[in-house]
């Protein structure tokens, strides 16, 4: 059964990419709805299967690593598969209403969307370093294609910049993989970890890991390499922005985190961990500040992504050289942060898209009066903002709480400042948007009212992000599941 589910999981997005390529936008929309249904069901079933039976390795083509490619299907991976299914389903649904079917190039949205989804699943499940590289490229090119889709000059500039950054990042990662292969003779992450922990290969060669982390950090837009993100995420169509911010940047981070957790203990060092953490902290502060300064609504949200991504990199210092309990706490915190940010940011971008559609302008100060006539999209935006601020009971708060605990327990109190100041700064930019929308300067409703389905989608996502804090415990318990049997 599980094998069939895996086949379905791998097959569906790729197959739907092909199917939607052959039809036009309207038919593609219908086909996509069906595909979303299938994929969500498969993801749910797989998640349930792993939650009840534990994780396993899946050998593609029947060849075991190191000869073949293995997929690591564990609790964390299926959690992210499920997250992807939810967020991508929401974005796909939103896009099917939001995008104008009259524009001929919008038909290409669907195949790119499905390829992106496929690439994300590759990354969540990947256990082979080179396979992850291909997955990353799949994601990057699809994302660039989506940003550029039918765009005018500014969108193309953003897309090219994004492409260049992504290519450089992938190349750095690949170079690291080349060195790892040279050193270990295998591409399987599990093999490399095993070789390191049983002492077959002496640790100490940090450079490959640094290279890979650099490349992945560049793709994740870690400060100060974040320059490409705001233009790309700000200018893309809102459903695309939502996909990019919610999921795509997480993919490269996820690989970096897995590498760090498996190899960091042997190949990393205190200074490296702290350096990455400091960059993350600076990203939180600087990104929030820039978000506060933006005049365009979507740029606010995009810079907020830079800041929120910064939190993720606290994983590195908080898991290096600490006890297993603290490390677990930090990992759980970061996982929650990834999930809640994915939900909240997708909600925020989709809501921002609706707001822009309604007021006919991308400017923050054009929102005056929206609170009175369009409470729903604003409400979703606000709820998502609450999660970003890390206020209870959202998932963002649960994440912050765990990270606070981990910082305190590991004695790295300096991260407390980042966590608390980050929350306040994000409140600053979120409330700036609220404030603009509460200005009551008109008695007439001259706004365009988007279709109800557009308004419902961000609300659902925002509520999920809100509720995540309440069900954090069960979610985390699936993530920490051990493998079926002892190992592979």
């Amino acid at each position: 059964m599980t094998l069939w589910l895996m086949a379905g999981l791998l097959f569906t997005p790729l197959a739907w990419a092909v199917l939607t390529l052959l039809v036009d936008f309207r038919k593609g929309r219908v086909v996509t709805w069906l595909g979303i249904l299938v994929q969500v069901l498969v993801s749910l079933a797989l998640w349930a299967a792993v939650a009840s039976d534990g994780g396993f390795y899946y050998f593609l083509g029947g060849w075991q690593a190191p000869l073949g490619i293995e997929l690591r299907v564990d609790g964390l991976a299926v959690t992210f598969v499920l997250l992807t299914a939810l967020v991508a389903a929401a974005c796909g649904w939103h896009a099917s209403v939001y995008l104008d079917p009259g524009k001929s190039w919008h038909r290409y949205f669907w195949p790119l969307f499905w390829f992106l989804w496929a690439g994300l699943n590759v990354v969540w499940l990947g256990g082979d370093l080179f396979n992850l590289y291909v997955g990353l490229e799949l994601i990057s090119l699809a994302a660039v294609g989506l940003v550029a889709l039918g765009g005018q000059a500014a969108a193309l500039r953003a897309a090219i910049r994004y492409l260049m950054a992504a290519l450089l990042g992938s190349l750095a990662y690949l170079l690291g993989v080349a060195l790892i292969y040279g050193q270990f003779g295998t591409l399987s992450l599990a093999d490399v970890t095993a070789l390191l922990s049983d002492g077959t290969v002496a640790a100490g060669q940090t450079f490959p890991l640094v290279l890979m982390l650099f490349g992945l950090a560049l793709k994740t837009a870690l400060f100060p390499m974040h320059g490409w993100l705001p233009p790309a995420h700000g200018i893309a169509k809102s459903p695309v922005s939502a996909l990019l911010s919610a999921l795509v940047v997480k993919a490269s981070f996820y690989i970096a985190a897995r590498l760090w957790l498996d190899l960091g203990g042997h190949l990393g060092g205190y200074e490296l961990a702290q350096l990455i953490g400091v960059l993350g902290g600076l990203a939180v502060i600087w990104g929030s500040w820039l978000a506060f300064r933006q005049t365009k609504l979507k740029q606010v949200v995009a810079y907020s992504s830079v800041a929120q991504i910064g939190y993720l990199f606290l994983l590195f210092p908080l898991t290096w050289g600490v006890t297993d309990a603290i490390s677990l706490q930090a990992q759980q915190g970061i996982t929650l942060q990834v999930i809640s940010h994915a939900l909240a940011k997708a909600a925020m971008f989709l809501a921002a898209g609706n707001l822009i559609m309604s007021v006919g302008s991308n400017r923050v100060d054009a929102l005056a009066g929206v609170s009175r006539f369009l409470p729903f999209s604003l409400f979703s935006f606000g709820l998502a903002g609450v999660s970003l601020m890390g206020l209870p009971p959202t998932g963002g708060f649960a994440a912050k709480w765990l990270l606070l605990q981990a910082s305190l327990a590991s004695g790295q109190w300096w991260w407390l400042g980042v966590l608390l100041a980050g929350g306040l700064l994000s409140a600053a930019y979120v409330f700036r948007v609220y404030q603009a929308s509460f200005i009551d300067n008109t008695d007439t409703d001259h706004f365009f009212h988007p279709p109800k389905s557009l308004e419902v989608i961000p609300l659902i996502l925002a509520l999920l992000s809100l509720g995540l804090g309440l069900v954090a415990e069960p979610v985390l318990s699936v993530m920490a599941l051990p493998f079926e049997g002892s190992s592979r």
Binding site: P375, F397, W401, L408, Q435, I439
Partner: protein, 498 residues
């Protein structure tokens, strides 16, 4: 699921559900909205009353589940929570009635009542929170749900006030979070329990615990408007009158004060806090706030601003009460939580009536208002005398109990503070009463509206009258069972364990 688990959940849910429904309601559904509001408020009072009855007979209500690894979400009703829950449930009903009248034809009513209910849900959550974590959760929810109420009018001034409010409260919240997280890291999940956790605690924890205490008080002090963290309160006056009433009497400042009570009594423990020398500092801050607030109130021309500074002063009575470290003093502080709420809400209702009916905002415009609006003015007068501490009103009970408590533990200077404060109270309230009743009307009312034979809309008139009666009753019937004072006594006997 037994009823003892479900009761606190229901109490929370009534207003939460009401809020969700109200948000979804179209702007025009006036009747339906009012019905939902009132039904929810009445149901909540009933639920709270049942729980009060149960607790008096020794029942326990608790619901808990694990939210995060090592962290529980706990709702628990004990005598102390009922003090606050009862107050907010009762006053919510009155404030809702008042707000329905007050906002009769203003825009954004769906939004207003939605957040209004959310705000009360948060307050109920604060009252029922069973540990610091849960408390914080609702504390922040309260911050968020009050912001839209403060900026409700959407004017530049109200937006500025809202911004200040949010800066103060969120920063306070961050400090509070730091303190709670630290405490949690130090000693694990802390349920509120009688007598606190830190009696005879390891001396090595002394220093961090002291720092955490200061952080906790800072975080809670923002909402309780302890000087110098009070800056947001006078500005928030631009909000509509029912909101001010809510902020001052029921929800926000009370949440801060209530939090301080919880921390001192049931986290640190009164004795432990005293032993660590934490209460003396708090008492000084509270005393200073009392004098400072009253003094500033003297100089305010705007009626609501004067009331605001009066709130700053009065809420610190509660804090000062617990620092007295004796059964009577503590009782005085606890009972003032209720008394101040009833008195202050009366005053704010009245101030709102003057503004809404006559268009009067400044004190020097009030000349002769007593003749035009006798009902409102009688209520205002009772409230003012209560604040001053004239017998046999509610305020007198507070001050008397506290004074006795101070003498009992030998903190004579507190009596001096009480006396000075009462004099100041008189100094800023009596001139208003003089203008109301004895001055001749100087000019036409700035913006008068008429409601037939009544002095103002019945929706606006009844709530202050009811609260005025309540504050008289609370004074006269102080020794009857289930009066605020008796309940405070129950709390002291059961939970403070002195």
């Amino acid at each position: 699921m037994s009823l003892s688990v479900l009761m606190p959940v229901f109490a929370l849910m009534t207003s939460l559900l009401a809020s969700v429904v109200l948000f979804a309601l179209p702007e025009k559904g006036y009747r339906l909205r009012t019905t939902i509001n009132l039904v929810a408020a009445v149901v909540k009072i009933a639920l709270v009353a049942v729980m009060i009855w149960g607790i008096a007979r020794g029942r326990e209500y608790e619901a808990a589940f694990t939210m995060l690894p090592g962290v529980e979400f706990v709702l628990r009703a004990d005598a102390l929570s009922m003090l606050f829950a009862g107050l907010s449930a009762l006053l919510w009903l009155l404030t809702t009635i008042y707000a329905v009248g007050y906002l009769e034809d203003s825009p954004n009513r769906s939004r207003f009542f939605g957040f209004f209910s959310l705000c009360v849900a948060s307050t109920m959550g604060i009252a029922l929170a069973g540990n610091l974590f849960t408390f914080f959760l609702f504390y922040e929810m309260l911050t968020l749900s009050t912001y839209p109420l403060v900026v409700h009018r959407g004017t530049r001034k109200s937006l500025r006030a809202g911004r200040n409010y949010i800066i103060y409260t969120l920063t306070g919240g961050a400090v509070l979070l730091l303190a709670i997280a630290w405490l949690h890291g130090l000693v694990g999940d802390l349920r509120f329990q009688e007598g606190g956790h830190f009696a005879g605690v390891d001396p090595s924890l002394q220093v961090p615990l002291t720092i955490i205490f200061v952080l906790l008080m800072t975080g809670l002090g923002v909402k309780a408007a302890l000087v110098p963290l009070h800056g947001w309160l006078p500005q928030a006056m631009v909000a509509p009158a029912p909101v001010s009433a809510l902020l001052h009497a029921v929800a926000v400042v009370k949440a801060g004060a209530f939090g301080i009570i919880r921390v001192v009594f049931e986290v640190y423990g009164l004795e432990a806090a005293e032993a660590m020398g934490l209460l003396a500092g708090l008492a000084l801050v509270a005393a200073f706030t009392i004098i400072y607030g009253s003094t500033r109130a003297l100089y305010q021309i705007d009626l609501k601003r004067r009331l605001a500074f009066s709130t700053i002063s009065q809420v610190s009575y509660i804090v000062l009460g617990l620092c007295l470290f004796g059964p009577l003093g503590v009782m005085g502080g606890l009972v003032h939580l209720v008394h101040q709420g009833i008195m202050k809400i009366t005053l704010f209702f009245c101030a709102g009536n003057y503004a809404e009916t006559l268009g009067v905002h400044r004190i020097d415009e009030l000349d002769g208002a007593g003749k035009r609006m006798p009902g409102t003015s009688v209520a205002f007068t009772l409230g003012a005398f209560g604040m001053i501490g004239a017998p046999p009103l509610a305020g007198f009970i507070t001050k008397w109990t506290m004074g006795a408590g101070a003498l009992e533990v030998g903190m004579d200077w507190v009596v001096a503070v009480l006396v000075v404060s009462s004099l100041l109270n008189a100094a800023y309230f009596l001139p208003i009463l003089h203008r109301l009743w004895f001055a001749e009307q100087q000019q036409a009312w700035p913006h008068e509206r008429r409601w037939g034979r009544l002095e103002t809309s019945p929706w606006l008139l009844w709530p202050p009258l009811v609260t005025a009666v309540l504050l008289v009753l609370a004074g006269i019937l102080a020794n009857v069972p289930f009066s605020p004072l008796s309940w405070a006594e129950l709390i002291v006997l059961r939970e403070v364990a002195l």
